[in-house]
């Protein structure tokens, strides 16, 4: 399927706090932004890792939760009508003959932008893979880290591993379509909605599924087709479980991912930038927030905000080399206030 190419001033990779604030700073300079994020919502680590944990070091907000900060930044960016592309991972970055950048995602979206801003934090959030020997051979065939279509699992003998909401939700949702359902977790305690835990226990009581305590230590099967697993029980003894499908749900981790292939200088999985423009070694590609590094770098959200402001000035000059850029304050500039919709 060929997609229409989206032409824009700026593509921002990552819709975390720094990416969102970059929309604001770039917007004041009339630069239109498209944001791409692998998660299904904005906020990055704030939304994924600690939506409810309080943050104490945002200037002017003595205490704010990760989710609330995300909501406020979304509101602040809204006047500039950023466009969000969720559940997409940027795979390719390629320079066009006219100096712009072509950005392609794993979902087939194509963008052409004057400037690319990498605000990807610790990288892409990806499912944690259990370090069980040989698991790679089963991945995509009988071991899955996500459920895209429930129908795929109809009639399967499913084993789900984990104790969070994903593990519990999919146990409950897939049980009716599965031939058999088993859940394995290291303890009889869950980090999941109490209602889901109750439902799971009810299914066990009704003999519609089984719940086991322990950890999977080995997989058995042939040609990528799983036939069973060895489990180390909490008493230290091994036992076997039969299954043809395994769904491990151990949350998400961050991986640098395809960024490593874009020809950018990297230092220990971080992107070195200068502290005037926050530009990478490649002109027109900027990096802000946790993903960049420079002498004295602190991985603080507030540092990312500062980086976004300076980056925006440099990005404007890169995109409009002949234009005059006059620095203005939102407190006094009618033209900026019009952009914000307050004048």
């Amino acid at each position: 399927m060929t997609q229409e190419t989206i032409s824009t001033d700026v593509v921002i990779i990552g819709a975390g706090p720094c990416g969102l604030f970059a929309v604001f700073e770039l917007g004041l300079l009339d630069m239109k932004c498209h944001l791409i994020d692998i998660l299904d919502r904005s906020g990055g680590q704030c939304a994924e890792l600690y939506p409810e944990k309080p943050i104490y070091d945002i200037p002017g907000l003595p205490v704010v939760s990760g989710q609330e900060l995300t909501d406020r930044l979304m509101e602040q960016a809204a006047p500039f009508k950023p466009e969000f592309h969720y559940n997409e991972m940027v795979e390719e970055l390629e320079k066009l003959p006219d100096g712009r950048w072509r950005v392609k995602t794993d979902g087939g979206l194509v963008f052409e932008a004057k400037v690319v801003v990498i605000a990807a934090g610790g990288g892409s959030f990806q499912p944690k893979k259990p370090p069980i020997p040989g698991i790679e051979a089963y991945e995509g065939k009988s071991v899955f880290y996500a459920v895209k279509r429930m129908e795929t699992f109809r009639g399967k003998n499913i084993l789900i591993s984990g104790g969070g909401d994903s593990a519990l939700d999919w146990t409950i949702n897939l049980q009716p379509v599965a031939a058999s359902m088993q859940l394995i977790h290291r303890r009889d305690g869950f980090r999941a909605a109490p209602d889901s835990v109750k439902k799971m226990h009810a299914l066990v009581d009704e003999k519609k599924m089984q719940f086991h305590l322990g950890q999977i230590t080995a997989l058995h099967g042939d040609n990528g087709q799983l036939e069973g697993v060895t489990v180390k029980g909490n008493d230290g003894n091994d036992f076997q479980l039969e299954c043809d499908t395994l769904l491990p749900f151990f949350g998400l981790t961050m991986k640098l991912g395809p960024i490593a292939n874009w020809g950018l200088n990297l230092h220990e999985n971080l992107i070195p930038v200068d502290t005037e423009k926050f530009q990478t070694n490649v002109p027109g590609i900027f990096a802000i927030g946790d993903i960049n590094t420079y002498p004295g770098k602190l991985k603080l959200i507030l540092s990312g905000f500062h980086e976004a402001a300076l980056m925006a000035q440099a990005a404007f000059r890169h995109a409009n080399p002949d234009a005059k850029l006059t620095f203005q304050y939102t407190t006094s500039s009618t033209s900026l206030q019009k952009k914000l919709g307050v004048a």
Partner: protein, 103 residues
């Protein structure tokens, strides 16, 4: 005061430790890859370590939050802990922990 760290390659070393620091921060300060993506908020499980059996019983037990995050470590040992949840004190001089690959 020190902690004894066995790194991912199995090499053992003594690290200078300071009272009141999180063990995760001590390990990171010495330049070892310990994760700690969430910054010590008990929200990511990337600072997972295995505590030496001799020391495991001398630590305060994991609280509910830590247990919940340990659920995200696919392979746990009986002495697995999140190093951000161990605050270093004088009593822990010599604490031995092993770094493990974390997802």
């Amino acid at each position: 005061m020190r902690i004894v760290l066995v790194d991912q390659k199995g090499v053992e070393q003594a690290l200078e430790a300071a009272e009141g620091w999180r063990v995760m921060e001590i390990i990171r300060e010495h330049g070892f890859e310990v994760g700690g993506l969430c910054g010590g908020a008990c929200a990511c499980a990337t600072c997972h370590v295995e505590v030496h059996a001799e020391w495991a019983g001398k630590l305060h037990p994991a609280n509910d939050d830590e247990e919940a995050m340990l659920d995200e470590v696919p392979v746990l040992s009986p002495t697995s802990r999140l190093s951000c949840q161990i605050i270093y004190t004088e009593d822990l001089n010599g604490l031995a922990v092993k770094l493990v690959a974390n997802g």
